[in-house]
Symmetry: C2
Subunit: 472 residues, 2 copies
């Protein structure tokens, strides 16, 4: 046969098959993957419906407008939980509940920093989350300049006595955000390293990839063996400025005053709702995003987007006229930004039913499109993950690694405890432009990109919940 003939034959076959409500082949696939009848067609329908427009943006708009910033453990985060319960109930979800837990609260206070010598000028900066305060009158000290964290680590003990350490290592953009771990160490651990050399405070170049006067906050931790010093991040343009002055051979003197407050034991919580499964309701497939945000912006890309995506996907399934065999659990995680505390609290509370946490994924990398699917599941379940990838390929998702554990930050405790995982990787090239800055606001989100995320979450949640395969 020539090609034209083959083509015509296939076209005729396709036309014939598409005319049937359920093809023998599709049903065969459903059976093979231990899905209910028509399950794959249902997943496709969910995908296509989401792509035509989901309610994800509407949800982010509501959260960022009606709550705004919602730092973990604050009254604002409590308002976010109230918003969440009311929103989920208004969408028709039953059994919405809060699993409360407490954290050590921290809130930003007044903060000011200025270069006082050699070229007096204010600095655009912010206190890092968890930092101690300066004395009320602030700190005034010469600056010890370090290009990298490694340079700071190499400084001689005592060499920073009475000085403010400044580390200027610049983060570069990556699609998968993979350099955040490396660069983020400066933010997380820099203070104690500087303190161990005698520094009285540390300033870092923001862990961020923009060039705006926007400092990036984020959490830091102290080594319990070392005295605590205040820690703050300069915006990238301000770090550039200090680099230029340093390059002139000048000694810089900075005045720093930060007055964060430790607010003691503070209430937070995870907001949870299930779409109850028909056959194994106690087995749950988890999707979600985190409800808390940093205090500087309104938490649109971090992580209003995740809340919107996961909720819109769940709502699509809720309204789809079918229920999966297992339950789909939608979780709005609390207190993520201050150490994945919602994830740890959930693990603690659900230790006894760990084997019922079948698989999960979280959306917490902004509002960009998904470009890759990574996973780590049993050999038995791999064909189902392959089927998910096949269904997502038309909307721009390529299969990635099938041996990559990780399902998003808040699921890390569960994954470490053995839960199988799947991650729908978003394009994060611009994520660290906005991450943890005042600029994380709704205007940065493209609604159509959210819809593509919703499509992928709906396909994952539906198929993972509707199969009888074991992921473990």
């Amino acid at each position: 046969m020539n090609r034209v003939t083959v083509h015509s034959f296939k076209a005729a076959l396709c036309l014939m098959l598409s005319g049937m409500a359920l093809t023998p082949t599709a049903w065969g696939q459903d059976q093979e993957l231990m899905l209910s009848e028509g399950s794959i067609e249902h997943a496709k329908m969910l995908r296509d419906t989401a792509m035509q427009g989901s309610m994800a943006y509407e949800i982010v708009e509501s959260l960022t407008t009606e709550v705004g910033p919602r730092l973990a453990g604050t009254a604002a985060e409590a308002r976010a939980r109230d918003w969440a319960v009311a929103k989920l109930e208004s969408l028709g979800f039953d059994g919405v509940r809060v699993e409360p837990f407490t954290i050590e609260g921290w809130e930003r206070g007044a903060e000011s920093a200025e270069l006082i010598d050699p070229y007096p000028q204010p600095l655009s900066f912010t206190t890092l989350g968890g930092s101690v305060a300066t004395p009320d009158s602030g700190i005034e000290a010469d600056v010890a300049f370090f290009a990298t964290l490694a340079d700071l680590e190499a400084a001689a003990p005592g060499s920073l006595e009475g000085k403010i350490a400044f580390v200027s290592h610049a983060m570069q953009k990556t699609q998968d955000g993979s350099s955040y771990g490396f660069h983020g160490r400066l933010r997380r651990s820099g203070a104690s390293i500087a303190a161990s050399k005698g520094a009285v405070a540390i300033l870092i170049r923001s862990i961020g990839t923009d060039s705006h006067r926007m400092p990036h906050t984020g959490s830091m931790r102290y080594d319990p063996e070392i005295g605590k010093i205040p820690a703050a991040a300069l915006s990238n343009p301000d770090a550039d400025q200090l680099e230029r002055i340093h390059a002139r051979g000048e000694t810089m003197r900075v005045r720093l005053n930060v007055q964060p407050i430790f607010t003691g034991e503070s209430e937070t919580g995870n907001v949870i709702v299930d779409i109850r499964g028909t056959e194994h309701p106690d087995e749950v497939v988890i999707i979600g995003g985190h409800l808390d945000s940093w205090d500087l912006g309104t938490g649109a890309i971090d992580d209003g987007a995740g809340i919107g995506i996961a909720t819109a996907a769940a709502k699509l399934i809720l309204d789809s006229g079918k229920r999966p065999k297992r339950s789909i659990r939608l979780i709005f995680w609390g207190a993520e930004e201050v150490g994945l505390l919602g994830g740890f609290a959930y693990l603690e509370r659900h230790k006894k039913d760990l084997d019922k946490q079948i698989i999960g994924t979280e959306s917490d990398f902004g509002a960009g499109k998904i470009w890759q699917l990574n996973s780590r599941v049993s050999a038995e379940a791999q064909p189902l993950v392959d089927k998910m990838a096949e269904l997502l390929a038309p909307i721009g998702v390529a299969p990635g690694s099938s041996d990559s554990p990780g399902a998003g930050p808040d699921l890390t405790p569960l994954v470490r405890a053995g839960m199988p995982s799947l991650r729908l990787n978003q394009d994060g090239r611009d994520y660290f432009d906005l991450h943890h800055t005042p600029d994380d606001t709704l205007d940065k989100i493209n609604p159509h990109d959210l819809d593509q995320n919703v499509a992928a979450f709906a396909v994952f949640a539906w198929l993972a919940a509707d199969t009888g395969l074991s992921f473990k």
Copy 2:
């Protein structure tokens, strides 16, 4: 002749002519335009040299780094004048001088604003230049929303009693910045209009085209007949947020506290230096930029760029081995941002030699490339302006209007007093993204774009100073 033959003949002629040090035609052009011998070739050389790299960026880097923000009338602006004198002398300019004058000083103070009802959250905003303070304890009031200034103007007298007026009109991008006049009226005059209706304060959407958490400051004026109320600008994302809440039908309540200080009579000044002309040294062709900046950024695009461009052009001429017939006067204008006060002071001081101010142009529209040449000169001088346009066409400048008065903000008083004018219009599509914000920093400047500006300024200054034609 066919085209190939024409082409070959022309090519041969070009080759022949280019081999001559000075073509009879060029010399004829020089004579016709009352230029010294070889003047046009010299202008081309200046242009080509600038395009290969000028020192403009180096100058902006020095000013923004070593001085930083330099608000009119402050110690920082005085440091900028010291920097200017030292920089110009180090570049080999003779006779650098400051023409001092005084202004009524104003400085930004502590400022905070928050939405307290219905959705409590802090607002990103800044006080407008010239605004009065709130009471120490701030103002707390309901918000009256207006989509446009026209809507505010249409409000009934007394209808804003006890309220904070918020006007949300959004500026759009234009290449020539022409909508700044229309939209800027809200900033300049909004406070007195709102006060006339009983408002206790006014918030405006920033006069700016970005979508970052960056408020745009800028000067405002009170109608002396109307009581003064505090005036401040929200960033665009914050204005969006209030619009969304207003659209929900909610009454918004805002707490505003701004504590600017009127610092009384304050010293400022214009920094001036001449490249002395050989035949008519008392006749001056003016180029320059303004030395002061707003306090929030480091004044890189507004107007470090103008300082760098004009200085680099003057330096190129200074080092070119030739002097023009008239003097070229380089002016770093003081106190531009607070009402073109340097321009008015210069006019006042130079009233007696107004006829010696031959023509001028200022660079004060950012760091983008020049795309258009506008002018208004005598019929006698028009051929010279046409020649300038011809020389600038290869570097992307198109002739614009020959009946468009205007030479840049600080020259407005002189132009109104009758001085001929020429303007090298920069592409300003992105100018109002950064204008008057904390984000106006060096990283936003492309050095190569500055070089193109330098080329145009050098061609203009050289030819206008070297001709014997009258522009008037």
